[in-house]
Symmetry: C2
Subunit: 337 residues, 2 copies
């Protein structure tokens, strides 16, 4: 009743009100099994009455755990936040974490000062890290993984073997299936707009395209590389068109790039899918609203984020968890192919 809302209530105040020791309060707060129901009750009542909230810093200092995870975002990845795929992954991560006691810190990894990132990560600020959009210029996060629990979204470059925890899709196979759609439609001159070749997704999707073509006894069509953005796709399409090599179909390594390609095609009066059929990758929300709507590879981006978070938490808490999770993809057929 006599509720002194002087300042932040401490564990000690709760102990006093409940008539137990601080240890017991701590045990209740941390859901330790060995506390009598009566004590638990008294403590909970006191916590309620006081509106007690444990102090994170103190807890963290004493327990040497931070209950915080970092989401590392490479600064130089063009328009990271603008890419719907990454946005969805972040969404998934945040959603999963909301059901746990972990907090998510956004960490922009400045290329100019990689030391700052490394220090933050190794300075005991977080219990683990999620790494998205890893490319070969990045500081060696793989080395970091030896010090700190780390999970990668998308396999890191040159991931020989099972060193790391990663959540990914089978990019090679998905690209192969996407390309096969084009082949099955009777196209024989199939070009590709590939993503950055310093990222695994960029590399693997070209490989899938190439391998599907080879399996079908077809020659690879023209090939252009670009940033994983609308502008990158538009530029690549212009180069493809200006290159002179004919093609009647295109596999684009991302929907964003496909949208850019689409707008160039439209400008130049080239019809899709009649003159060139297109298959994209990602199944961005907008794929259903483009002109024409986009046939594409759908990947479960939100679920992928959730899984990343889940794997990292398990890793931190010492629960058994697979090192590699491959999420399923599927082709979504719309108007563009």
């Amino acid at each position: 009743m006599a509720n002194e809302t002087t300042s932040a209530p401490t564990l000690e105040m709760v102990a006093a009100l409940a008539g137990v020791s601080r240890s017991t309060v701590s045990r209740v707060v941390n859901a330790s099994p060995k506390v009598t129901p009566e004590a638990t009750d008294a403590v909970n009542r006191a916590i309620e009455a006081l509106g007690y909230v444990p102090n994170r810093a103190a807890r963290s200092l004493a327990s040497r755990k931070t209950q915080a995870l970092a989401l590392v975002i490479p600064e130089n990845t063009a328009k990271f936040f603008t890419d719907p795929f990454f946005a969805s992954v972040i969404h998934g991560i945040a959603m999963h974490l909301a059901s746990t006691d972990y907090t998510l810190s956004l960490l922009i990894a400045s290329e100019a000062n990689p030391e700052k990132t490394r220090r933050y990560l190794q300075g005991g600020n977080v219990d683990g890290a999620l790494i998205l959009s890893h490319h070969s210029d990045d500081i060696s996060y793989r080395a970091l993984a030896r010090t700190l629990p780390v999970v990668f979204g998308g396999r890191p470059m040159s991931d020989e073997g099972t060193d790391n925890y990663v959540v990914d899709v089978d990019n090679v196979e998905a690209a192969r299936i996407a390309t096969r759609v084009l082949i099955d439609r009777g196209h024989t001159n199939i070009a590709t707009i590939a993503g950055r070749q310093d990222m695994a997704a960029g590399l693997d999707r070209v490989e899938g395209w190439r391998s599907a073509l080879a399996d079908a006894g077809l020659q690879p069509g023209p090939f252009e590389v670009g940033e994983f953005t609308v502008a990158g796709g538009a530029n690549a399409m212009n180069r493809l068109l200006d290159g002179g090599e004919p093609f009647d179909a295109l596999f684009s390594a991302s929907d964003q790039m496909a949208f850019g390609a689409l707008s160039v095609l439209r400008e130049r009066g080239i019809r899709v899918p009649d003159d060139v059929a297109i298959v994209g990758f990602d199944d961005d929300d907008f794929a259903v609203n483009s002109t024409p709507t986009l046939t594409t590879v759908s990947q479960p981006s939100v679920a992928l984020g959730e899984r990343m978070a889940e794997v990292l938490v398990s890793l931190i808490e010492g629960e058994p968890i697979e090192k590699l999770t491959i999420m399923p993809t599927r082709i979504v057929t719309r108007e563009s192919a």
Copy 2:
């Protein structure tokens, strides 16, 4: 030379190596003015040699500051992460913070359990909060602002007066200008697709539309409300078309909604801008790639995020800062109007 990389170096180890007391090390680390250059030097050398990184939890516990900010995201805002506008704002926030010592924590505010959010925010986990996409169903963040430094991105609902720190654009005026573009083109039946009417941006943009019409002596055209999403815009457009009230122009309260409207129009064989001219709002990256390209109100989303972060940091550190920042907007004319 004899570098014992046993474990995380502590301030005490630095002090020992530098031959000073822990207090002095602390002063150097915190850039206190009253330390001799010699001492500062010795300490810095020791820090360098040891690779010392201050422990956040300890620092936070002792100083009662967390150096962390929360970005509060309402869970029920449909597709928050998918909206390019919010993505850009977050980008801006993160960019600005990267140049400071503050960390950004993503906090999903579950509607089911608003207490959890409130406790987190008031439990000393962060030094301040950034609130985006505030709508009237949200728990009262305005009350929270009395306890914790808070800055709003977009004015909160029913923000009577200058209670809060907010960074915003002049939505009413921007919508008025957008509508005037349509009026100047000679359109007389101007419809609008409005955003959720429980958010200030939704409300204010309708008001601007209405007022521009009134100023021109025109009757308001048909009016539909929808979520700030592509699907929301598509649905609203369908209702507009099925409603039977004729219109030859449309002001859409967001580009995402405009894209949805555009795809419905295309499906139904209605030409843009010939049959209906369209002006959107946001200038999403994609506005330059839609069919047709979108005339729209450009708002500086990244800069808005940067400013939010800047205001919050100033507020926390007790530096003088304006309560209200209005960012500039401008019309970008493309093909749709």
